[in-house]
């Protein structure tokens, strides 16, 4: 996605003025002053009025805005849940500062999806200020979720096809992730995206899977023991060693990651629940390190080992046929696919002891 020119970011389409949002008048939402002089006109200007969603968007869309603070897009609570879980309360203020500096740019407002490109990718009006009911996928969703989800879904990794839902179905993100799922979160899902209901669940569309009339017996055999992605995803991105700091030269926050690579690891489910009862799920390596936030203080993650560094993942590169589902013994007995002890760094063994597969499912006799 090419960055927009500065003028292009703020060019309003005259058609917008005839829409219900346009007829409200610029100053009603953006503030500023009625003046032909640019600087005077911009005095008190609010570039993104939807930062105050209750006042602006909530006037008409109250039923959506009311639940939005619980949305992970708004709260970024998932980061805090995980980082704090590896720490202790005394360290929370320092970690809060770190997350404010390095994570908050991912915070999303209504306007970041429905009117503009997200600020984290430079901002700019999507379509002359028209309010897009369904945000355009590549300019909003994968503009932020591009490194992993976007690259996987669109097939940007060489030699790895894009997700079948995109290749064959031309489905955009909203085809599965409904507005109501994106606008709020309920219960445990408001703390971490893998702690609540599966939204979406594959079975929402593929209802026949595992039922008596399912013609694919492997679905019934594996049942709820194996997450769908274990058989139907292919290689996906993992990262190692992210460290954050503030630049001495510019005062801007920056990060450094030690490595990014494609991986495929079947492991034990770190968070089994009624909603995700699987024994086996896919795991990706997340870039947390004991010293990730060292710039903000010593030993800020003393409980680093409480959570795995190989963690639950749901890759967005689903295929009907994959190397591991070609036959029973493509997976059974194939230790290369499983997160076994030898594949975990010695310093991360303790953190991952709950997800390491000690006994790879045995080869099935008499079956190719």
């Amino acid at each position: 996605m090419a960055p927009l020119e500065p003028w292009e970011k703020v060019l309003v389409n005259a058609d917008f003025l005839n829409t219900i949002h346009g007829r409200a008048g610029c100053i009603a939402c953006h503030g500023g002053q009625p003046s032909p002089d640019k600087d005077t006109a911009h005095t008190g200007l609010i570039a993104d009025p939807s930062q105050d969603a209750n006042r602006i968007c909530g006037a008409c869309h109250g039923e959506i805005v009311d639940g939005f603070p619980n949305s992970l897009h708004a709260s970024l609570q998932g980061y805090q849940t995980i980082v704090y879980s590896r720490s202790i309360p005394e360290n929370h203020p320092a970690l809060q500062t770190a997350m404010q500096n390095h994570c908050s740019s991912c915070h999303t407002t209504c306007g970041d999806c429905h009117i503009s490109q997200p600020k984290s990718v430079g901002g700019g009006l999507l379509n002359g200020h028209q309010v897009e009911k369904t945000p355009p996928m590549t300019r909003t969703c994968t503009a932020c979720h591009g490194t992993r989800v976007g690259a996987e879904y669109l097939g940007k990794h060489e030699g790895i096809p894009g997700d079948v839902h995109f290749r064959e179905g031309r489905m955009n993100c909203m085809a599965c992730h409904s507005g109501s799922d994106l606008h709020t979160a309920e219960g445990d899902a408001a703390k971490h995206r893998y702690w609540g209901k599966q939204q979406p669940a594959c079975k929402d569309c593929h209802a026949q899977v595992g039922r008596a009339d399912d013609p694919i017996s492997q679905h019934t055999i594996h049942g709820d023991k194996v997450a769908c992605q274990v058989c139907h995803a292919v290689e996906y991105t993992s990262c190692d060693g992210c460290h954050v700091a503030i630049s001495d030269k510019t005062g801007n926050p920056f990060f450094k990651t030690e490595a990014t690579y494609l991986s495929f690891m079947i492991g034990r489910n770190p968070w089994p629940s009624r909603e995700r009862p699987y024994a086996y799920v896919l795991l990706r390596h997340v870039p947390i390190a004991p010293t990730s936030f060292e710039y903000y203080g010593q030993d800020l993650l003393p409980n680093y080992n409480l959570l795995p560094t190989w963690t639950y993942t749901t890759p967005h590169n689903i295929q009907r046929q994959t190397p591991q589902n070609r036959s029973c013994n493509s997976c059974h007995g194939n230790a290369a696919l499983f997160l076994t002890l030898d594949k975990v760094k010695p310093e991360e063994l303790e953190a991952n002891r709950n997800v390491i597969v000690e006994n790879v499912p045995a080869t099935l006799p008499f079956i190719k």
Binding site: E5, P6, W7, V10, L11, V12, N13, A14, L17, R23, A24, G25, C26, I27, A28, H30, G32, P34, S35, P36, K38, A41, T147, T237, C239, C242, S247, K249, T250, N252, F254, F255, K256, T257, E258, A259, T260
Partner: protein, 78 residues
Amino acid sequence: MRRMLKVIVVLGLGMFLGACAAQANPTPTAVPTPTLPAAVFTPQSSVDYCVSCHTDKDTLVQTAKPEEKAPSESEGVG
């Protein structure tokens, strides 16, 4: 004495009947209703300066400040 009693009864009856008499309704007075201005969508002045500038590509090209972005020191994939 009997006359005195008659006078008291007549006076009391008169006061009672006077209290029961119908109250006269006050005549309503016409109050002028203020005329509300017709609802008009904003433009807060006759010229909408915001719109005239932000819908004119040439004006924006001339007036938009170039963005000075410090080179990022981040390394690796975010």
